[in-house]
Symmetry: C2
Subunit: 329 residues, 2 copies
């Protein structure tokens, strides 16, 4: 292609006020309407951010250098940009937008960087965490649909740290997965297993994101929690976690993962339960009843929310492959 032949709307004389419409105009050849809309909103917000802060050249350069360092510390096993997104609340927000939950279903929360694909499939009642320093925990759960019917055969991924606050993959000398497993719900929607009581831990904070947290007067801690991920055809993928009540970081999670509906209070195993599940009476017990939304239910809610959000911008919306684009351009 001869670039001088590209049919680009001519730029006007650029000022602080018209630069935004000019950048949007030059981007208007984008053949993908969804990508075009995303770029339009990105440019509007990037420019408004600079205009509202009166960003100085020196501050802009500090931002450029921060982003560069954030990119350069990334490796196959470290994703500093995800960490940045987490501590700015963006990860939680995107998950909430993409997986909207009706009020009577289980809320989602941040996935975090420690899910792996090497967890073993266990049977109900098996021990998931072999850390002898951890406090034993019996976990009894069910999974149902929004009508309260048990869902059989849901694949449930579960993972937690050891008693030192580290996931298995954070130990360079580990021999195989631990503190994680996969279970399948039975005909009653039940799944149960033995684990350890979760503990708080810090997110990686020896890089640019850690420095930013320090500058902001924030700590890098996450409150005690256990991750759960639910998959079954026909149901919206649920990524969530349960948080322990009264954790010192319950109201200041560095990555904004805690939601009230996901906070659980541990109780003690009764004599009957001890006999039934083969654990010690008085040891810690966690119970939860998860509720999954159908894929269609989630898609409908997402489309409805998209319409509302674009109407707020004064734009009519068209849903293309499940995602909104303005209807008239």
């Amino acid at each position: 292609m001869d670039p001088s032949k590209v049919d680009i709307p001519p730029l006007k004389d650029l000022t602080i006020d018209n630069i935004t419409e000019n950048v949007i105009a030059i981007n208007s050849n984008n053949p993908d309407p969804r990508f075009k809309y995303i770029l339009e909103r990105l440019v509007v917000h990037l420019h408004d951010f600079a205009r509202e802060t009166r960003l100085s050249t020196q501050e802009w350069m500090a931002g450029i250098q921060f982003l560069t360092k954030t990119g350069q510390i990334c490796t196959d096993v470290r994703q500093e940009f995800i960490l940045l997104s987490d501590i700015l609340g963006l990860s939680l927000l995107v998950d909430s937008i993409d997986h909207p939950k009706p009020p009577n279903s289980t809320e989602g929360t941040v996935l975090g960087p420690f899910h792996t694909h090497e967890a073993e499939v266990l049977s109900h009642g098996d021990l998931m965490s072999h850390d002898e320093n951890g406090d034993p925990l019996l976990v009894l759960c069910t999974v149902r649909d929004v009508q309260g019917r048990p869902i059989e055969g849901v694949k449930i991924d579960i993972w937690e740290t050891d008693s030192s606050g580290k996931y298995d993959v954070q130990h360079p000398d580990r021999d195989g997965p631990d503190g994680r497993c996969i279970l399948k719900s039975d005909a009653e929607g039940v799944f149960w297993f033995k684990a350890i009581v979760p503990v708080p831990y810090p997110i990686p904070h020896d890089g640019p994101v850690g420095q930013l947290l320090k500058k902001l007067g924030r700590h890098p801690m996450r409150p005690s929690h256990m991750h759960f991920m639910f998959e079954k055809e026909g149901f919206d993928h649920l990524i969530t976690a349960l948080y322990l009540k009264n954790d010192p970081y319950e109201t200041s999670d560095a990555v904004f993962g805690v939601k009230n509906s996901l906070i659980v209070e541990l109780s003690k195993v009764s004599a009957d339960q001890a006999a039934k599940y083969g654990v010690k009476e008085g040891s810690a017990l966690m119970t939860y009843d998860f509720v999954l939304v159908t894929e269609q239910g989630s898609a409908d809610l997402r489309a409805q929310n998209s319409r509302k959000a674009l109407e707020k911008l004064g734009r009519r919306v068209k849903i293309v492959k499940g995602l909104p684009v303005p209807d008239v351009d």
Copy 2:
């Protein structure tokens, strides 16, 4: 410090709508009021961007990967994040905000990545570009204040590409600087030199930013131009460039550098000029009268613009070290 003792405002039950105020609250311990304000606006715009686009997890991940690649291609001699800022119009915008110009003064434009600190100091009339394939160009300029008085002793940095569209530093085998120089204006505010007629060239487009331009249906070209940078104590630092009229990329500069007031039409050297300046009659001539703003004039205008911008947000403003922060929090 015991992080659980940090006095952080407790987060509320997080939703799509209240996540923003919660992130701002947790960031409110920031001891630097300017940085606090910047972070507040960043979080507001980042979140509004996600809410307005209904950003999907997949799109978010594509963004994370793009930023990571952008960071990882950066080296000591390549700054892909600056390039990204350039092609999104942010660089021009930040320069316009930081160096506001009253109507009767010379406008600024993007610095670009090719200014160096190794240019030789030349005398008036010296040849700056030794590329024999270039078309000879005589450049006659003045530099004055807004009252029209000549300014003596301004340090002027000038740089341009060779006839192949490459700056000296882009030739790995070069032996010293070429196509760049430093001059000082004389008592009449005059500076003049011999160069070559500028040509269009592409910005580096073999990385993530080049791929983005391609996806957007944009070319990577910059129209023919020559860079100028003016420094003298008491005057606002002026970074600008002159653009050749009727360049094929005049209205589609990949980095939004062109402004109408910076477009010049080349003329021909007259017989008198040929004799006076020792160049060939009929060869190309570029003339321009630059006008510098005082440092105080620029600072006053910046403060005035800051007040207006923050009032638009309904905030009262305090100017601290030349930059705005909200007055009441």
